[in-house]
């Protein structure tokens, strides 16, 4: 189709103008419309990907929310982020703060009535230092999932609840005076910490102090009806004419924050039953142990430790008689 005179433009009227080439597409169909279709697919996928993780939206009431920032503060459980704060507002009467949290879909089971939310802040106490990471990263919201019906509104605590992992045997000790015993103090059996002291409070009629203990599930079998509990905190000093000075300290932790120890009589001795006690059984808290209790050494089978390959089933082989 090229004309020999194609390059000469100076006298267009003198030459016959060449004809342009014609190129055909392979397809008759306008393929360019595939582009908006592809764009819609990509856009749809991007949007879907970002909302795929969305779980339920819950509202938590707090008294104050210093350190929380919308779209930045995370909700964490066992160190894993399971949600994010999306909005912070005051409620209608300006008395409390409402924090809206979007949970991940995988953590939707956390939004149940008995779950407890609190703000994790650095805590430095005598027995307990925690949450120091939040000094750098900013506050976060912790959660203790509970059961119950699904819920969307919660009342948040200002501090972590005492003993967040509330699984185990719960019993009550009654004493006339709390002394140096504090929440989070350890409970000892033969010197091993097997539980924790929860919140102490005044009993009904304000005549005694009720202290709740939580015994770890593995050691729940150690507590029987005849078990005796005593206050193991502080120092026990005895000065005797013949024995001299005798100082007893259960542990450094017990020295500072107090503690409770207990001993269980062997089966058949006295009025102790052979099985573990029911939840909420009330025991008396003694100030000092009697010598007799320290000699008790019943054989109680404990469930195997989760990590130990060969389980140690029994405890307390009979001591030589005191």
């Amino acid at each position: 189709m090229n004309d020999a005179e194609a390059g000469d433009n100076s006298r267009p009227e003198a030459v016959e103008l060449p004809r342009a080439e014609v190129r055909r597409w392979k397809w008759r169909f306008p393929v360019v419309w595939l582009l908006p279709v592809a764009a819609a697919v990509v856009a749809g996928y991007l949007m879907y990907d970002s909302v795929r993780d969305f779980g339920p939206l819950v509202t938590i009431r707090f008294n104050e929310v210093n350190g929380l920032k919308s779209k930045q503060t995370l909700v964490k459980y066992r160190g894993v982020p399971i949600g994010e704060v999306v909005a912070i507002d005051l409620d209608a009467d300006l008395r409390q703060a409402l924090v809206k949290v979007r949970l991940h879909r995988s953590a939707a089971a956390v939004a149940r009535k008995e779950s407890v939310f609190w703000i994790v802040r650095p805590e430095v106490g005598l027995n307990n230092i925690s949450g120091l990471g939040t000094v750098i990263t900013g506050a976060e919201i912790g959660v203790q999932p509970g059961g119950g019906a699904p819920a969307a509104e919660f009342v948040g605590l200002d501090n972590a609840p005492v003993m967040p992992e509330a699984k185990g045997l719960s019993i009550i000790l009654r004493t006339r005076h709390l002394g140096a015993l504090r929440a989070n103090a350890p409970v000892y059996y033969r010197g091993i910490a097997v539980g924790t002291v929860l919140d102490p409070h005044l009993g009904t009629n304000a005549t005694a102090v009720d202290v709740r203990l939580l015994i770890l599930p593995r050691y729940a079998a150690l507590v029987r009806a005849g078990s005796r509990f005593w206050n193991a905190g502080g120092i026990d000093v005895n000065l005797g004419l013949f024995k001299g000075l005798e100082i007893n300290v259960e542990s450094l932790g017990a020295l500072i924050a107090g503690g409770v120890a207990f001993a269980t009589p062997p089966a058949g001795a006295g009025k102790s039953g052979a099985g573990p006690v029911a939840e909420g059984t009330v025991f008396q808290l003694f100030d000092k142990p009697e010598k007799k209790w320290l000699g008790w050494a019943p054989q109680i089978a404990l469930p195997a430790e989760p990590d130990a390959p060969a389980a140690v089933a029994g405890r307390g082989a009979p001591d030589p008689a005191p």
Binding site: M1, N2, D3, A6, G7, N9, P12, L17, P18, R19, A20, E21, V22, R23, R24, W25, W27, R28, F29, P30, V32, W33, L35, P36, A38, A39, A40, V42, A43, L46, M47, D49, S50, K71, Q72, L74, P81, G133, I136, T137, G138
Partner: protein, 200 residues
Amino acid sequence: MEIVAACRICGQLQRVGELPPGAASACCRCGAGLHAGASRGSLRATAALSLAALILYVPANILPILVMDMHGAHSESTIWDGCTRLFQDEQWLVAAIVFLASILIPLLKLIGLFYLVTTAGRRSTLRQLERARIFRLISAVGTWAMLDVFLMAILVALVKLDQLATIRPGPALPAFAAVVTLTILASARFDPALIWPARK
């Protein structure tokens, strides 16, 4: 109907005949594509590209464009968040630039392209001079359109040098880059000669 057209690249005058659908004409001397005569194809391409850009404009603005992890604190922000944040920090000029370059101008370009396509498709003879000017403006502005993406790339590279903080582009960045690219392609594909339809 035959017309005479000059090649954009080499200037060769040549006759262009009626084209069957799906065909395009090429310069007989240098082989460059001649727009004249391919009216339907050009409009269709421009419309399709503009539509694709408009569709992707939505995730580009809704999804986060910047994800920042600083000292363990995590934060995501969209283009609009960045704008309001700059505004609140009293950086009026930068906020205005981000708003214009990332939100307003791409939208105006797309609206302009749709307007040009529909009027050229209807072979309208109204306001032809203004439309030609609009087209030249769109093409000129197009050279600056990638500025935002470039800025984000530099920011990410700079901040990665600091051990304590990492900035990652969010999912909106590829969407935004696609919007800008498609807009540039759409305006390049538009044949301004269609603003001046030949008389039948």
